[in-house]
Amino acid sequence: MIHPARTYLGAAGAAGPLLFLEGTRRAVLGEVATVRCAGAPPRRGQVIEAGEDLTVVQVLEETIGLGPEAARVTLTGDPAAGTVGPDLLGRVLSGAGAPLDGLPAPVGAGRRPLQGAPMNPVRRRKPADFIETGISAIDGLNTLVRGQKLPIFSGSGLPGLALAARVVAGARTPRGEPFAVVFVGIGVTQRETDEFLRGFAGTEAMARSVFYLNRTADPTIERILAPRFALTQAEYLAFERGMHVLVVMADLTQYCEALREIGAAREEIPGRRGYPGYLYTDLATLFERAGVLRDGTGSVTQLPILTMPDDDITHPIPDLTGYITEGQIVLSREMHRQVVDPPVDVLPSLSRLMSAGIGAQTSPAHRRWADQLYASYAQGRDARATAAIVGEAGLPPEDRRALAFADRFEREFIHQGPARRTIAETLEQGWRLLESLPREDLRRIPDATWAERRTAREAAP
């Protein structure tokens, strides 16, 4: 459908980031608007509700000083779209796709609607390709596969973004195909983005990466579109160019705050803790853009990062995210304090697509091995809690052993410092810890698996 542009003189009102128009004929839901005011550069906006009596335009730039009466609003008839193309790689752009690196705006290979379209579920391929990140807590226990969306649940002051950077730098795939990286900073600080960028500057990985940066000081509403610019480019690279794309999105909490702001300006009935009732659906339109096509070669893998307000995993933002994503990597303040690096609490962490990625691609015993590490560690953590009350001496011998195991597990398996571990090294590290326990404590390891391990170990130098 082609809609001609229409210009209206004067808006009926404004509230926060919203502008209200009366008497708009043929307004199109989602179309781009341009708002002009004397003495200010034109601002861009988008129709988020269309009505003959009232149309609502969400303005992307700062609305301070915007006088509705004098505004000239043009409804362009065009859907919100972003420039996509291979020439965006190597570039640093704003949250709205404008160049920040001093170079001219990218020409691109075309424009694509930011909204994106849902992948037809029957055209999806089940994600199953193992990505070795070099991090034991992930590769061994919460395995990442290509096409997955696996968020990092961080807390303020916890190294969520740093962990994502490590994953990006360390990611290896079985056939060695490199990833293109699409990074989108959503309301993140200059320091954080600089740190992230520094890892790339001057490397050949930079040539395979594109950065969309909406910083803390940038307009809040731009945060709604920034991840969509990034995902639109990611989908282009993956599904039109056949590339494997790793999308890092930080910080989703800032994104949700922006949504809440709009909801409040629209005087919507808020849902839990003031967030819009459609937060789940809205987040799904971002996260579900990860995946692999049945007949394609490319893939979109997402590593979103969010900050749990008050470290509370039941807060609506981590909660709804966990309900959409295929697992989560949860960081722990306690472990961070104990200088466990990376401070991953593996118990609440999960990768739902792990089963497809392990086994043949890692080790046939991987599942049992992981189950046993989990079981022993969980028992040790329980024992630690009991010991805090009754003292270690009050524990039965097996619990005492589990407690000692848990301590070593955190120090020697989860903690790895800056070193990168191959999956073989990760598995070996885990086995060594398990072997510190007597056989009867290892109830998740069947005899056959145990025997194989013994043989393999004896064969090893």
């Binding site: 509700e49 579900e288 309900y323 069947p446």
Partner: protein
Amino acid sequence: MTDIPRVVRIAGALTEVAPLPGAALHEIVRVGDRGLLGEVIRVRGQTATVQVFEETIGLALEEPVRVTGAPLEVDLGPGLLGSVLDGIGRPLERLAALQGDFLAAGADAPTLDPDRRWPFTPSLQAGADVGPGDVLGTVPDRNGEHRILVPPGVSGRLAELKAGDWTVLDPVGRLEDGTELRLAHRWPVRVPRPVAAWRTGARPFVTGQRVFDFLFPVAEGGSVAVPGGFGTGKTVIEQSLAKYAEADIVVYVGCGERGNEMADVLTEFPELVDPRTGRTLMDRAVLVVNTSNMPVAAREASVYLGLTIAEYYRDQGFRVALMADSLSRWAEALREIGSRLREMPGEEGYPTGLGSRLGKMCERAGRALVPGRPEREGAVTFISALSPPGGDLSEPVTQAAGRVVAALWALDAGLAHQRQFPAVDWETSWSLQAEGVAPWFAQHVGEDWPALRREVLTLLQRDRELREVAGLVGPDALEDADRLVLESARLARECLLGQSAYDAADASSPLAKTRAMAALLVRMLEGGRAALAAGRELGALDLTRARRALVALRDGPPAQFEETVAAARAEVEASLRQAGGAT
């Protein structure tokens, strides 16, 4: 020009249309130039509010709206099995053929393939008097045989019924009053299909999951809610039930959940072969898929679509398992739409009618004498996952569901974090039908089944009390008899109730195996008690040996079940004799 109904407002999935005098609630309309499918959900004077089942971005004010006069309906007939439909009944493969890898609004695709021919064998002849539900004949379908029914509300004398190769659109027969009969008929999804009489079932819905079959069984035709926080295992349970529960037909509704999970189902279901029939699970399944990023109004409709298809197979006399993952997403869709209507909300923003809608939905499950001849019974067992915010079961949807279901299988994040699966919290889970189906288990599996169940429940209860004490004084301070309880309960949790979906040998547990494991555990507990009573010490009891026997039974190859049971029993008896606990 002004009389043509047009779009006057667009807000998300909602549009307002005027003038639309005389619009009926739940009437289907075609919205805009692309004819998006919409449903009237409110009428005020000349203005109707329409929820649109497709993406509304790109829709413009003043685009015309066409009324259809019909409610949201689905075609029911041969060819449903093996298909993957979106929330409003369009086959996704067909949409992919039309649109490619990504979905776009405005496509039309009939639920049933209009060109496919089915060899029809009538079982009645001209002159017969027929009524609703009577079996007119059969066509072969992927599950074996598809029964062609006289649609509800239709009766009269058969003037003609023709064998032959027909499409679902061809008339295959006629009543004397001229009514044409076809292989398929349409049915409004929001209206329950009538039954002749509801039956209370004494027969359990056998799931293959020990914790459900043994502790919280439901009757065939029961409805179950499975609430649990994210990652607690709801989807794995729904999929395990689809794969292994005893049912003729499986209807799986992916309601507002993940696309990759559906890809998983679509890879696995066609590969899972039933050794008894040689047919795959996909041959007897219908999938309804409306993922979280697909239009929210269609998500709301998807559950009704699933229910209607399930009822249709029930009416043919089949036992149908209907899975909905997740009903919370359905409720949220209602809330999203309700809030755009600016209706006065009830608890937590959900519409005030949530409880009654949920109740009506669950009432569509059940075992029934279905209408028509030959006389037959069918059942729809309805298992719905619930996704409570923060995993908190006191929230409105879980509470409302708890009032209408026959059983609640509550999942616990703590257990899931310890990878104790299925993470069923047996303290908060319940079944109203456990007593009702107990005689069936006693008769068909083993007389001791009800007694074993009581023993294990008591053990778990006692374990809970003791663990509280142990948390205060330390487990080592407990007496031997109590530590025996703790040890046995741990075994019960780990082996008897624990079951890995990824373990080929144990993903499904036949009832005989479930009983054998329970019996072994109880024998060990009783033998241990006897030994302690005879003055032995707990340390002298070789629990490790008994435990190994139980693990061997759990992990043993299903083909050698008899041998494994015998060996495990011998092991346990030997270890008890050694400890002086044998009697």
